[in-house]
């Protein structure tokens, strides 16, 4: 790399002189070959054809897909994936679960016990906290689907959520 120390702006005259000397030098150089006249006549026709294709329904739908649909789907998928894997755990769901559990009518609480494979309707409240832990989370999930509405539906209860339900249930029975 060469360093240039001359930072002076060239004058208009210098530019003109250099430009003229280049034009003189290039005067005998044959100009690049120009396309045939037919090319210029056909060019607008070809461009119009391409424009028709570009503005046709198919192209619009493709452009719509590229600009709207695909980014939209990607955004929704990213949101869902983020929700599934990266959403910070909060106790909001536990609170609502607990609230719903506590708000369940006694008959519904009974039916939960009856539905459970490992509990009996004669089980004492004191035993609930230990034995009821064996209740299947699927059973509880299905139960909530039927009785608690979709807003608190938990299809796969975590161990912690299940524990919360059981504590709430036991306090309900007490």
């Amino acid at each position: 790399m060469r360093l240039r120390f001359d930072k002076r702006q060239p004058t208009d005259e210098e530019e003109e002189t250099l430009s003229r000397s280049l034009r003189d030098l290039a005067a005998n150089d044959p100009p690049p070959q120009s396309p045939e006249p037919a090319y210029w006549q056909n060019l607008p026709i070809r461009m119009n054809r391409t424009l028709d294709e570009a503005t046709s329904g198919k192209a619009i739908s493709l452009s719509w897909a590229a600009r709207v649909a695909i980014p939209g789907v990607v955004a929704i998928l990213s949101f869902l994936i983020g929700l599934r894997y990266y959403a910070p755990e909060s106790d909001g769901s536990l609170k609502s679960l607990r609230e719903v559990t506590l708000a369940l009518p006694p008959s519904a609480v009974d039916s939960l016990y009856v539905a459970s494979l490992t509990t009996t309707d004669t089980m004492l409240a004191a035993a609930v906290e230990t034995d009821i832990l064996e209740v299947s989370t699927d059973d509880v999930g299905e139960y909530y689907l039927e009785h608690a509405g979709t807003s608190t539906l938990v299809s796969d209860l975590t161990e912690q959520e299940l524990r919360e339900v059981l504590v709430a249930l036991s306090s309900h029975i007490d």
């Binding site: 530019e15 280049l22 690049p32 607008p44 424009l51």
Partner: protein, 185 residues
């Protein structure tokens, strides 16, 4: 009857008159072709760029505010597309020359037709201009061939006027030297 001005034709196109756009294309296609041709060197590439320029201009006519003339506006589109084409070509050339590319793509799969055409059509001056760095080449073409003002060049290249004059002067010197060398051979 007076022919419609570019801006009047643009208004016609916006009102749905496609024939007006055909008139705009006819009016400017040749000058746009030559700026593209001087930038990229080959007829085939220039042809692609001309078409792309007018299609892009048509589709984004809503963005044209009329602060520059229609011709300067599409000229800017053409220069940008040419610079993009050159950038792609540099990448392809680099990859083609790499050892890995020679292993993956044997020479028979290259496109010798287009390369040959590119070389055949170039004059000695065009070859000398082709040796300039891309942006300097754009400045040279706009000033030397199209005799644009530095303000217009600054608009097209989205740059400030300062430095363009020195850049062009430097380009003039380099091209002159290259041409001299070619003529002496």
């Amino acid at each position: 009857m007076e022919p419609l001005t570019d801006l009047e034709l643009v208004d016609e196109v916006r009102a749905g008159n496609r024939q007006a756009y055909t008139e705009l294309m006819r009016r400017h296609q040749e000058r746009i072709y030559w700026v593209a041709r001087r930038m990229v060197g080959s007829h085939a590439d220039a042809d692609d760029i001309v078409q792309e320029t007018f299609i892009k201009a048509f589709l984004s006519l809503g963005d044209f505010r009329g602060d520059a003339g229609f011709y300067t506006w599409i000229y800017r589109i053409a220069v940008n597309l040419s610079l993009n084409a050159l950038r792609k070509r540099h990448i392809v050339d680099y990859l083609r020359d790499s050892e890995l590319a020679r292993m993956v793509f044997p020479p028979s799969q290259e496109n010798p037709h287009r390369d040959l055409e590119r070389k055949e059509l170039e004059s000695r001056l065009a070859k000398a201009v082709g040796k300039l760095p891309d942006k300097q080449r754009a400045v040279f073409i706009m000033r030397y061939y199209d005799e644009m003002s530095y303000d217009e060049i600054a608009y097209v290249l989205k740059t400030s006027v300062g430095g363009l004059k020195a850049n062009y002067f430097h380009a003039l010197r380099k091209v002159k030297q290259e041409l001299k060398n070619a003529l002496e051979v």
